[in-house]
């Protein structure tokens, strides 16, 4: 296979997404009066196409023991089972988001093509991040993802607070990308190459500078992953952007941040650059503590969900640490737990914001006290919200709990017992926060006016319900997810 063919096949999902975005915008320009649904279905077709393309790449990867399919630009672009896993996860997340996007898009019918175009380009950016090991393109795709997500938030805003929160998201994102940029520049100065794959070979010359660059890159990527110290945007986007869009923005950022971190740390630095290991462990412990404590004293539902997503994202960092060999000398399964956790987190995030979207549409306010007695007003809404929040918080026996258990055991197996203890303590806090919230949903209020979720279109209800159900079903069917995650983690182990 020559270079052009390899590049085309490797980037087929991204190309399909970008192409569909162009088609959607072109159709909007040519036929301005079209119903928003048309653009939604165009986006869905593009996303399904990209998933089919991922399937084709997987077919090509069948029988390749290393899981690495296409390598071009001297390893700068690597299409392997990891990047395909991330592309499929991002594709499914985007597809589900498009299907539940009726509420936010209905308010901006004239700009629906822009909405779906941004969704598609953001998805393509995440796909590309997962495949990049060249610093320049890696950085560009990271910025592209940030711009798309910020623009998406600003596009669907319903009041000035939405604009402000998008601006704050932008500021935090810019600080993060600046850190990443400085880190990558320092790394380039040391290694003389923009290829992360060759960094390891050059670290011995200036270990201190490499440690500094690693710290800057990791700090910057915290903003994308939505963990402490750059995680304020998660709560603000969650509470000020309509839930249907906020779910996509947060979930896609977590997937993109997770993929970027895995590529930079495990695939780039690897075992050769040791400082990133303790940096990640420190960040994880601080992030877990901060998000969990914030969840305990939160008064807004969507911000509570945001804190829980942050805590779950911080938990994913434990998987990164267990990437090489475990205590028994057998390959560690940290990356398997990481990818499985990433999948569960994104599904649970979509579920929580999908249900919140339905509740918002029914006219319920966002304060936790407004949710008091929700079960007596709409039992399905309370049930779905309970399941989604419980999954995110790691309440057993739901999938979020299993994900945390796998991450904690893999970190402990890799010698990070103290971090496992911190993670378990943080889980206790998130569980208490979630249990307290769920209890409130079923408490008495006295003057209960029933409402139904009927105002939300059937498709949105089905998708949000399915996402909630996934939190239960994945407990039983965790093995297929783990098998896929193990295959995805193959090139990184």
């Amino acid at each position: 296979m020559n270079f052009t063919h390899a590049l085309t096949l490797g980037l087929l999902p991204e190309l399909m997404l970008a192409g569909t975005a162009v088609v959607s915008v072109t159709v909007a320009v040519a036929r301005p009066g079209l119903r928003p649904d048309i653009h939604r279905w165009i986006a869905c077709i593009g996303l399904v196409g990209s998933l089919v393309a991922c399937g084709l790449i997987l077919l090509g990867l069948r029988g390749v023991p290393t899981g690495v399919g296409i390598v071009v630009w001297r390893g700068g672009l690597t299409v392997d089972s990891f990047s395909v896993f991330i592309a499929i996860l991002a594709g499914i997340t985007a597809l589900a988001s498009c299907l539940v996007s009726d509420t936010p898009v209905r308010r901006i019918p004239a700009r629906s093509s822009a909405f779906y175009g941004l969704v598609l380009v953001a998805t393509a950016a995440v796909d590309a991040i997962a495949a990049e090991r060249d610093m320049v393109t890696f950085f560009i795709t990271l910025v592209l993802l940030l711009v798309c997500l910020v623009a998406l938030g600003a596009l669907v805003k319903t009041d000035p607070r939405g604009g402000v929160s998008s601006f704050e998201h932008l500021v935090e994102g810019v600080i993060g990308t600046a850190c990443v940029l400085y880190g990558l520049v320092v790394l380039y100065g040391v290694t003389g190459s923009t290829n992360l794959a060759v960094v390891v070979g050059s670290v011995r010359t200036a270990p201190g500078v490499v440690a500094l660059s690693a710290a800057l890159v990791l700090l910057g990527l915290c903003a994308t992953l939505g963990v402490f110290p750059l995680r304020q945007w998660v709560g603000r986007v969650g509470s000020n952007v309509p839930a249907g869009a906020a779910g996509f923005i947060i979930a896609m950022s977590v997937i993109g941040g997770g993929a970027a971190l895995a590529r930079v740390t495990v695939s780039g630095f690897g075992a050769g650059v040791r400082p990133w290991l303790w940096l990640v462990s420190v960040i994880a412990s601080l992030a877990l503590g901060h998000a969990s404590l914030s969840a305990l004293r939160e008064s807004s539902v969507s911000r509570l969900v945001g804190h829980l997503v942050s805590a779950q994202a911080a938990m994913l960092l434990l998987g990164l640490l267990a990437f090489s060999t475990g205590s028994l000398g057998v390959p560690a399964y940290g990356m398997t737990a990481f990818l499985a956790g990433l999948g569960i987190t994104s599904v649970a995030t979509l579920a929580a914001f999908g249900v919140l979207s339905m509740i918002q549409r029914a006219g319920i306010e966002d304060a936790i006290t407004d949710m008091r007695g929700l079960a007596h007003r709409s039992a399905p809404a309370a049930l779905l919200l309970s399941v989604a929040v419980a999954t995110l918080a790691g309440i057993p026996p739901l999938a979020g709990f299993l994900s945390r258990l796998l991450l904690v055991t893999s970190a402990a197996d890799a010698g990070y017992g103290w971090l496992a203890v911190v993670a378990i303590a943080a889980t206790l806090l998130t569980i208490i926060a979630a249990v307290r919230f769920i209890g409130l949903l079923y408490a008495d209020v006295g003057d209960e006016v029933p409402f139904t979720l009927g105002a939300t279109p059937l498709v949105s209800r089905v998708v949000a319900g399915a996402a909630c159900l996934a939190g239960v079903v994945l407990v039983v069917l965790i093995q297929p997810l783990l098998a896929v995650a193990t295959a995805g983690a193959g090139p990184l182990r």
Binding site: L328, T336, A337, L383, P397, V408, D444
Partner: protein, 501 residues
């Protein structure tokens, strides 16, 4: 009756209540008739689970008798997930320890579901949560895989929290918060213990049998104390009993009965199944500390009970004293004491559930929770007083009732190992006895009070709830010989491990 012949028995005991909970979820509850239907469906779920467990407990006895040694009556095993650091299994087992406790828990859940006829609001939610809770409790008892055990244990948290908070009286919110805090802490400590076991065992498995190994000393000590504290919280042992006192006094009577009847039982079961079996060396090494704690707890519970003015707080402190006796047996670690501990768990579960339900009934009739404000109820409610005395006598350990054999075995089994501690705990029983009789005297006897002149005696519904519990207390009291061989078989695993096997 081997595992290869019948292999869905345990699953059906566990999942039948959940299945009926799902059915109940789709039933309307707009009027009394519909609410009655919801309760009937729930009763069918709990009843079916009870009949299967009771029927197969008998067959299990035969199976265990034929098998002898360390065999389990029933086993189910399916791979759950395996592409990971460790393999986890949907692994269920019911040995001699589990079978009687399964019968106990399913009986109590059945009675409490009957009691739901006294709940008139949010009936559907109540019975659904009860059925989910029953699934979790039965699942914990049958789990033979650490991850499965933890998953079922965790499943109890949310339903119990909501039940305490939503159906409790004034102060229920605080009691629920105490419950969530303590039980959440216990839960994460169990998770940490399980992580230690899986990693230290090095078997790449979370199977409870495969992971029975000798661990390194620090891991073993940390694991033991972590599991011990976790299960001590669940058992409501002194000094981590406050959550139970709060929850017991503020939750609705049915929920409080489940709390004292099954949750405490699970704590003791977990301590025996994990703290003793997995970490036998530290369990033996620290047995003196365990029995010391039992002595303090026994006195704290019995004396604390005397200081209470609320009827259900009194029962809660009695629970602390009773659980301290179980702890004494766990500290003694002899076969006789441990068999006695299982019997005591069963006897306590029935008696405590009765006392709690009757206390709720008394409070409902007198519209007061204060013991001082009550008195002379025997004139209006003689049968209610009779049931209270019956349960109290079982707690005291009167011959022919379940508590007698249990107490006798606990003390006779513990005495050779810890003589002073056993004598001290026995002395605390005198205070417990005095307390129970004093409360009976204050509440039911003495001069008849005018404000209670219209108090009614037990209703048909009360009888329906209480008579099965009375029957169970009598059955365990009159025919302990039928159940002791089964329990001995299960306890053999613990004593073998402690002996170094």
């Amino acid at each position: 009756m081997g595992a290869h012949h019948v292999n869905v028995i345990l699953s059906s005991i566990i999942w039948t209540p959940m299945l009926f909970a799902v059915v109940a979820m789709f039933l309307p509850e707009r009027d009394d008739e519909q609410r009655g239907r919801v309760r009937t469906v729930a009763l069918a779920g709990a009843g079916l689970s009870f009949f299967v467990s009771a029927f197969f407990a008998i067959l299990g006895q035969i199976g265990l008798g034929q098998g002898g040694g360390l065999s389990s009556a029933y086993q189910e095993s399916h791979a759950w997930f395996w592409t990971f650091l460790f393999h986890a299994y949907y692994d269920l087992t019911a040995d001699g320890m589990t079978l009687p406790l399964l019968v106990v828990t399913t009986t109590i859940f059945g009675c409490v579901i009957f009691h739901s006829w006294k709940i008139h609001e949010r009936v559907r939610l109540y019975v659904i949560l009860m059925l989910v809770l029953e699934t979790a409790v039965n699942g914990v008892l049958c789990s033979a895989d650490f991850v499965l055990f933890v998953a079922f244990w965790g499943l109890m948290l949310v339903p119990m929290y909501v039940l305490i908070r939503v159906y409790g009286g004034p102060g229920a919110r605080r009691a629920a918060a105490w419950f969530a805090g303590f039980q959440g802490l216990a839960f994460v400590m169990i998770v940490a213990t399980v992580a230690i076991i899986i990693i230290e065992a090095g078997n790449q498995s979370s199977d409870m049998v495969q992971d029975l190994k000798s661990f390194s000393t620090p891991a073993e000590t940390i694991g033991f104390w972590m599991s011990f504290v976790a299960f001590a919280i669940a058992m409501a042992i002194f000094p981590v009993h406050t959550w139970m006192v709060e929850a017991q006094s503020k939750a609705s009577p049915g929920v409080a009965a489940i709390l004292s009847g099954t949750m405490l039982l699970l704590g003791a079961y977990g301590m025996m199944r994990i703290s003793l079996v997995v970490f036998p060396a530290p369990a033996h090494y620290y047995s003196f500390a365990i029995t010391g704690l039992a002595v303090v707890g026994a006195f704290w519970g019995s004396i604390g009970a005397l200081r209470q003015d609320e009827l259900r707080r009194f029962v809660a402190y009695m629970n602390v004293a009773q659980m301290s006796m179980v702890l004494l047996a766990i500290g003694a670690q002899t076969s006789v004491a441990l068999v006695g501990a299982i019997l005591l768990l069963a006897a306590h579960a029935f008696a405590s559930a009765m006392l709690t339900l009757i206390s709720g009934g008394v409070e409902e009739r007198t519209r007061t929770t204060s013991i001082r404000a009550m008195g002379g109820l025997v004139a209006q409610a003689p049968r209610l007083a009779g049931f209270w005395l019956f349960a109290a006598l079982s707690v005291i350990g009167i011959p022919a009732l379940a508590g007698f054999t249990a107490d006798f075995m606990v003390f006779s089994g513990s005495f050779p190992e810890h003589r002073i501690a056993t004598v001290l705990v026995m002395a605390s029983v005198i205070i417990t006895t005095g307390g129970l009789l004093w409360v009976a005297n204050r509440v039911f006897f003495g001069p008849v009070r005018d404000q209670f002149a219209r108090v009614r005696d037990v209703t048909l519904l009360d009888l329906t709830v209480l008579i099965p519990l009375v029957g169970a207390v009598l059955l365990f009291g009159i025919r302990p010989g039928a159940i002791i061989p089964i329990i001995s078989n299960g306890v053999l695993e613990i004593t073998t491990r402690i002996a170094g096997g």
